[in-house]
């Protein structure tokens, strides 16, 4: 599903672009075709700006299915929940 509910096919299989070293799920590079910051296809560009921004932002989109996630930022850390792929933390 897209952020607005529209279903789209996965365009490619590549690392999600915004993942940061502190992201607990950053090892999940396989089958992560979407940028977890902007929600666009990872293959659509280098997403360098997204990667830089993600050092000071939690992910907003599930890198596997592009759903917008429910994100809770805490004083220490964050959690992000995709209804399909579960919770990630950082």
């Amino acid at each position: 599903m897209t952020p607005t509910g529209e279903r789209r096919p996965n365009p490619v299989s590549s690392p999600r672009t915004g993942a940061t070293p502190g992201d607990a799920t950053s090892g999940a590079a396989v089958d992560a075709p979407w940028c977890d910051r902007c929600g666009e296809a990872a293959a659509s560009g280098p997403h360098e700006g997204c990667a830089a921004a993600r050092t000071l932002e939690p992910p907003r989109y599930c890198a596997r299915c592009r759903r917008r996630m429910k994100v809770q930022v805490l004083p220490v850390g964050w959690s992000a929940v995709c209804v399909e792929h579960g919770e990630s933390q950082g």
Binding site: P3, C38, G39, T55, L56, E57, P58, R60, Y61, R68, M69, K70, V71, Q72, V73, L74, P75, V76, G77, W78
Partner: protein, 331 residues
């Protein structure tokens, strides 16, 4: 030495009387070669009238996103295409966040909700949350829940909320460019009720929204009129999907000039680094601000974005020989 700094040395440093709007504007217009002198004077003012202690605070979002208001800088408005989704924090997680904040040495924990004003559900969550925190954690609880009714003000006092944050965000003349769903005067009215209740008033705003330097000076003067216990100073961190999402980040030197100017307008106020300092000032600028009038920080993360680690900030304070304000000093 520019005339305005000579004037401020006598008026603000020696007599504790803040600069007026014209004086603030003169500081904001100082050329770069006088910025260091302005920051040095602001630091002396802070040390003279506030002391060396730094107040450390953590903040958490109790209710994120889905806000009906249209504050153009905010990723939590439900009216924009921001990717931030609505989510509520449960009480055990709230208490855990308060504990983690207290473990950093922070004395303040501010509970924030993205709302126009609290409804019955939010007030119930606050009642339960504040009671649980007060039972388990040694920390002062503050709140930021939007515009309040008198009954809600009274209820927050009864809960033990000691400080209420309600930012004016920007000056009166620029506010309609930033928010259309409520007025600056409505915010002022909540601040009036909070002050009269005995809660400490926390009121600041965001620089870099597109306001002119003159409007920045107007804002400082209007904050001085509020005479808040605390002024949180944010710098716009443009958020994707918001109307201000494409605005440039404020220039670092302009941010430092503003820190000095706001300190010279508000010599006795807690002047807190809030959101946006990481991208506006970086590590070096953060240090410069702490040596230029800032005497409080938000440690850890913000509401929807991440901040410097608390460890890094506390190490910086230690390097600067600025003690963290003890809880006993706030009671």
């Amino acid at each position: 030495m520019p005339e305005i700094l000579d004037q401020a040395r006598t008026q603000v440093l020696e007599n504790g009387v803040g600069l007026d709007q014209a004086g603030v504007l003169a500081v904001l217009n100082l050329p770069d070669e006088h910025l260091t002198a302005a920051l040095q004077l602001a630091h002396e003012v802070r040390m003279r009238w506030c002391g060396p202690e730094v107040e450390v605070e953590g903040i958490v979002s109790l209710k994120t996103g889905g806000c009906p208001e249209d504050c153009h800088f905010c990723s939590q408005s439900g009216l924009f295409t921001s990717p931030v989704r609505s989510v509520w924090l449960d009480i055990p997680s709230l208490v855990k966040a308060a504990k983690q904040t207290a473990e950093t040495g922070a004395t303040e924990f501010c509970i924030v909700a993205a709302v126009r004003g609290p409804d019955a559900r939010l007030m119930k969550q606050m009642r339960e949350g504040v009671a649980a925190i007060r039972a388990e954690v040694d920390i002062q609880v503050a709140a930021s829940l939007g515009m309040l009714t008198q009954e809600q003000v009274d209820e927050l006092v009864e809960m033990g909320v000691h400080r209420y944050n309600h930012n004016l965000e920007t000056c009166r003349s620029y506010f309609p460019n930033v928010v259309s769903t409520h007025t600056w005067e409505e915010r002022w009215e909540t601040l009036r009720m909070v002050r009269e209740s005995g809660m400490e008033v926390c009121c600041g705003g965001i620089l870099g929204l597109g306001e002119t330097v003159e409007q920045r000076a107007e804002f400082a003067a209007q904050l001085a009129e509020v005479d808040p216990h605390e002024v949180p100073l944010n710098f716009l961190n443009p958020r994707p999907g918001t109307p201000l999402g494409d605005r440039p980040v404020i220039d670092g030197k302009d941010a430092l000039r503003a820190i000095a100017a706001f300190r010279l307008a508000l010599p006795r106020t807690i002047l807190r680094y809030a959101g946006g300092r990481e991208i506006t000032l970086g590590d070096l600028g953060t240090r410069d601000g702490l040596l230029g009038g800032i005497n409080a920080v938000i440690v850890g993360n913000y509401l929807t974005t991440l901040g410097r680690s608390a460890t890094d900030d506390l190490k910086l304070l230690d390097d600067l020989k600025m003690p963290v304000k003890a809880l006993s000093a706030t009671l």
